[in-house]
């Protein structure tokens, strides 16, 4: 029982990363109809950003958590303005290809500088473990889970309870109608893209103290996250986040009981969802 709970908790922590990335992908997709392949690369850049910040300026984790996502969000807005915007009128697959290219370039640029080996990052806060009643758990991982859940909730509240959120949701569901009401949806495209990128970068900084920081970390993650959003339904922010946490947990539990399936369970689940409900658990059938 204890190991079950502990594994479930582990799963929620890895689900935190899926959820943060899926959340960013979903808001970007909602607003721009772009599936950002570079999302994984930006997550990786977030982690390397923390490492580089520590190496060059000596600034620690908290500074990294603040500065790196901001810097990358800014880079993201530039990316949207300079490149992605040129293709948004075309088939969304062109932007998928463009961002795939960007991801490859980012990954190999960093590999030129850092090589393929993992970089150490030992500036994480909250070392040691804490007593969660039934088992001890690393304090840092509890922190990661708390940050991720808080952020996902905050974004959800932002989307449902503020004027900006209403505009973004309206622009996602009925872009033409929203424009007909005199709302300039185009204004929100760049900020939303930057925000999604910032979330990916933040996830990267969070990952730096507990995961291997290497150039492959982003591409491995993004492919799983693609499966996650296919399962949750990319059109639904709520569904994507929920699928992120759930799949993290299922993977971890699968690891405990059926170790053979630990790496493939996500994809099997995706196959089942495609059979039963092709639009995703929370998605509705929509043009992609």
């Amino acid at each position: 029982m204890t190991s079950f709970l502990q594994q479930a908790f582990n799963g929620l922590v890895s689900g935190s990363f899926y959820a943060l990335l899926a959340l960013g992908l979903a808001v970007i997709f909602g607003m721009l109809r772009v599936v950002n392949f570079a999302h994984g690369a930006l997550y990786m850049l977030g982690a390397f950003g923390a490492v580089a910040l520590a190496d060059t300026t000596g600034l620690g984790f908290w500074w990294a958590l603040l500065l790196v996502p901001l810097a990358l969000a800014l880079t993201g807005t530039l990316l949207e303005r300079l490149l992605i915007r040129r293709l948004t009128a075309l088939d969304p697959l062109y932007n998928f290809l463009l961002t795939f290219g960007i991801a490859l370039v980012c990954q190999d640029l960093l590999r030129m500088k850092y090589g393929a080996h993992s970089q150490p990052y030992e500036r994480g806060p909250f070392t040691g473990s804490m007593d969660l009643g039934l088992f001890d758990f690393p304090r840092y991982q509890v922190f990661v889970l708390a940050v991720s859940v808080t952020l996902c909730l905050a974004v959800w509240l932002l989307l449902t309870h503020t004027r900006i959120g209403t505009i973004v949701r309206a622009a996602t569901e009925r872009p033409e109608l929203t424009r007909a009401f005199g709302i300039d949806t185009g204004r929100w495209v760049t900020p939303v893209f930057g925000f999604g990128v910032g979330l990916a970068a933040l996830a990267g900084v969070l990952a730096a103290p507990m995961r291997a920081v290497n150039t492959g970390m982003g591409s491995d993650l993004i492919i799983t996250v693609f499966a996650v959003v296919v399962i949750g339904g990319l059109g639904s922010v709520f569904g994507s986040v929920l699928a992120g946490f759930t799949i993290g947990m299922l993977q971890a539990l699968g690891n405990l009981y059926v170790p053979v399936l630990s790496q493939t369970s996500v994809y099997l689940l995706m196959a089942v969802v495609l059979l039963v409900r092709p639009a995703g658990l929370f998605g509705k059938e929509e043009p992609a």
Binding site: L90, D91, F100, A103, L104, P278, K284, P287
Partner: protein, 343 residues
Amino acid sequence: MILALLDKLHGRPVWIRWGLFAAGLLVALGLPWSLYPPVATDILCWGLFAVAFDLLLGHAGLLSFGHAAFWGSSAYVTGLIALHSGLPFYVAVLGGAGAAALLALPIGFLAVRRSGIYFAMVTLAFAQMVYFIANQWGDVTGGENGLQGIPRDLPGFDLSDSFVFYYAALPVVLLGLAAAWRIAHSPFGRVIAAVRDNPARARALGYPADRYKLVVFTVSAFLSGLAGGLYAVNHGFASLQEVYWTTSGKVVVMTVLGGMGTLWGSLLGAGAIVRLEDWLSTSGFEETGLVTGGVFIVVVLLFRRGVWGTLAHALRPRSGSSTPDPEPHLEHDHGDASQPVSP
């Protein structure tokens, strides 16, 4: 008569078409004289792979980001057959391609339930699953080490010389290319294009759209398998690299560079990328993703028709063509007219 028909169908003078055909054949026959023969054979394999991929992307409008699954699984199966049976390598490659087609059935069946960008994500995810299985199933695939020492068996011939092997592999590739061309220009190919351009209408005319997509997906996987199997025999080994997502990305860039929907442009794209990577790796540059990624960005932003498409556009017959030249069209999801619009 047939020539006149061809002429009418494609709107280019006959002599250009046959001239190009002859030139292509000459290049194919002369390639190992001008290049290091293993590289020439690589170009054949990647060329067939890219053409098979373009059959799916350019003609059916389906962007698969998981074609490494078919190329790679065939590489493994071909390797296993060649290693354990001693049969001629042609049989091994055919077996590998058959295995790739078998694998394409379930993956395609599930993937065609989604379209557009989702199709790309779903195929990518399934290919990653195949990668993990290949990695885990080390007893069979050799895991990290791969399958080594795959022989080039053919009774009565000594194929150990790569120069000779090129000419042994060439007929397989030519047959594969001919099949791709035949399918693209058959009545079946017309239906595929109709399904791409207007799925709702094709369905209304009684064509089961999903089944057509599944068939073309499987055919594309089979041809990709032929290419992957030959590649494994050419190198004498099959590794995890063959099923990794970077391989899927590489075939996409070849087709996009050559010009999607042009079929033969993919051969140019494959030749260019293989040559470029060979040149880079011999000069000690390992970050090939930088180049592949850069090509992606430039082509997608600046010349979406690709090399062949741009040339064909520049050389197009001017007389009486009232239709504006479209950019290559991918599958558009037309809001799926069969679905009622929710209030």
